[in-house]
Amino acid sequence: MSNLIIRDLVKAYGNTEVLHAINLEVKAGEFVVFVGPSGCGKSTTLRLVAGLEEVTSGEIEIAGRVVNNLEPKDRNIAMVFQNYAIYPHMTVRKNIGFGLRAAKMPRAEKDKRIEDIADILGMSDLLSRKPSQLSGGQRQRVAIGRAMVRDPAVFLFDEPLSNLDAQLRTQMRLEIKKLHQRVGATIVFVTHDQVEAMTMADRIVIMKDGHIQQIGTPSEVYHTPANAFVAGFIGSPAMNMLAGEVSNGRVTLEGGGTIDIPDLPNGRHPIHLGVRPDDLHPVEGPGLIEGPVTLQEPLGHETLIYVGGTQGEIIAKADGRLPPPVGTHVALGATAENVHLFDPETGVSLR
């Protein structure tokens, strides 16, 4: 069963269309992450689902009901905001219970629900505090609690971690994921951070300029990116892109390096070859690309090396203990199954 279905969703401000026919189905209990650079339309999509913006055309269905013309409160959703948006003049208890105000429910039951949620979030002893007496992570937890208390069909998270510092962000990331496993809620989560997307999502939706670029599991979008944009956006450091030409099953790069790739279409045409730094290593003999090492970034068990070549700076991974020193000339190589080929015009993946 699908908890959220988006059909041909279009949003336009005046004559400017910012979302172009978005289609997506989110299954019950699924954790879907929207990711993309700022201005790609991911937050707009979320706000349309929440009912905070009006749909220009298309349909949004939540828990089997088309909600286009429903008020946010009638859509059976809850949302967690980037700025937490917990009310500073109310205690934690009141903040969490705020979503139940409208619900007709005996007081004792409300209290029980609030306490259960506080227990899940480990905030039972903080219920009488005001937000100003809480840390950033605790505030975010209150915001999540306020969303949970309503037991909605879909949870919407709008970049909830981007205001936290790096350490807390990693911690909250884990907490939200554990919470999802425990409660089994349907979650739509928006972020611009691809690491967040990769680590949390069941499925990732990658967006750019109001178009969905790819929908897939973290492993799918990483290993078989649909196009050059996805390939460059997912993964850190980003995939190296090299211009070249394909002819008769062999790719020849502009620098002269070659690699044989099985099952290539016949004919001769230009191509972009993508290879992740993880898959590109110093090799003996002629490699894919050659050049001097310009910089080292030791990460401990391995070292990132920046190699200057005819096609700009390439990032590759070398041994952690004995990386090639800066200034030495290295050849970098990759295996055929680890390289990606893209159409230089459209960016579409060719294999």
């Binding site: 937490y84 500073p88 306020r146």
Partner: protein
């Protein structure tokens, strides 16, 4: 006190040589002098008011601040004159009602102008702002004609109606609502509140400092208003305090000691209002629910 110590401590550290230090002390001295003169200039009228209220009629034109024979006869006279309580009550009723009205309606309009997008919003805002440029003196004639045709002359309503909402208050509240992040409002909308509830339970508590400031402004403004209450009222029992106090003057003479006594008593409610509301004027309340 601590601040001045800190400044001195730094300046003595910075200016190790004596000449420079003397120069710095000189600057300090001038600063204090200016502040002192300004302070005295502000306090003097109040001191003079109290001093005059303690004098006998024959010494009121004597500039000495200390009455020759201080006494409380003036207070007894003013308080025993039955009219004073009526005026006091009129002023109190009018100031309280206008304050409540301004706090509610100015913020309602300010909130709407700030948080809703509707056609003509900007024009409405400019129209409201432009009324700030029209002085009261120009408005009293139309107000008077209006009051006359509606039968509001010489009534409480007649005194109050022009001040029940102000352009200034609307502008002030609109600007303050700009500081309330939309996230709060959207969160409340998702939590199932209607727009009026959002305004009242979410937005209003977040602008409490502004409301307190507005309440003080409006209360003081109406408490001390003179021209309009003077024009719209005819009978003794409808006078407000400032209008009533002015009647202590007749063609031949002004009983300054009585005017000052009334004025001294009438400052008490303004002090009370200030003391009640100033503690709400605490900055940064809004930010507590957001990223810290």
């Amino acid at each position: 006190m601590t601040a001045s110590h800190d400044i001195r401590a730094t300046s003595s550290g910075l200016f190790a040589n004596t000449a420079a230090r003397r120069k710095a002390n000189m600057g300090q001295f001038i600063r204090w002098l200016v502040l002192m003169v300004l302070g005295i200039a502000m306090v003097m009228p109040i001191v003079y008011m109290i001093s005059t209220s303690l004098k006998w009629p024959h010494e009121i034109y004597d500039v000495s601040l200390i009455p020759q024979e201080p006494h409380l006869e003036n207070y007894t006279y003013v308080l025993e004159d039955g009219r004073f309580y009526g005026w006091f009550l009129n002023s109190l009723v009018i100031a309280v009602i206008t304050t409540v009205s301004n706090v509610i309606f100015d913020s309602l309009v300010g909130y709407t102008l700030c948080k809703f997008r509707f056609p003509g919003r900007y024009i409405v805002f400019i129209a409201i702002l432009s009324t700030l440029m029209i002085p009261t003196e120009m408005l009293v004639i139309p107000w008077y004609l209006m009051s006359q045709s509606f039968g509001w002359l010489d009534t409480h309503w007649g005194i109050m109606f022009p001040g029940l909402m102000t352009a200034f208050g609307t502008f002030l509240m609109k600007q303050f609502f700009e500081t309330v992040p939309d996230d709060f409002i959207e969160a409340a909308r998702i939590d199932g509140l209607n727009e009026l509830q959002i305004w009242w339970t979410v937005a209003m508590p977040l602008v409490r400092p502004a409301l307190a400031a507005l309440a003080i402004f409006v209360f003081l403004g109406n408490w001390t208003a003179f021209i309009w209450p003077l024009i719209v009222t005819n009978s003794w029992d409808m006078y407000t305090l400032p209008v009533g106090l002015s009647t202590f003057a007749d063609e031949a003479d002004v009983a300054w000691e009585l005017v000052m006594t009334g004025a001294a008593i009438s400052t008490i409610p303004t002090l009370v209002v200030f003391l009640i509301f100033q503690r709400f004027i605490i900055r940064g309340v809004v930010m507590a629910g957001l990223k810290g």
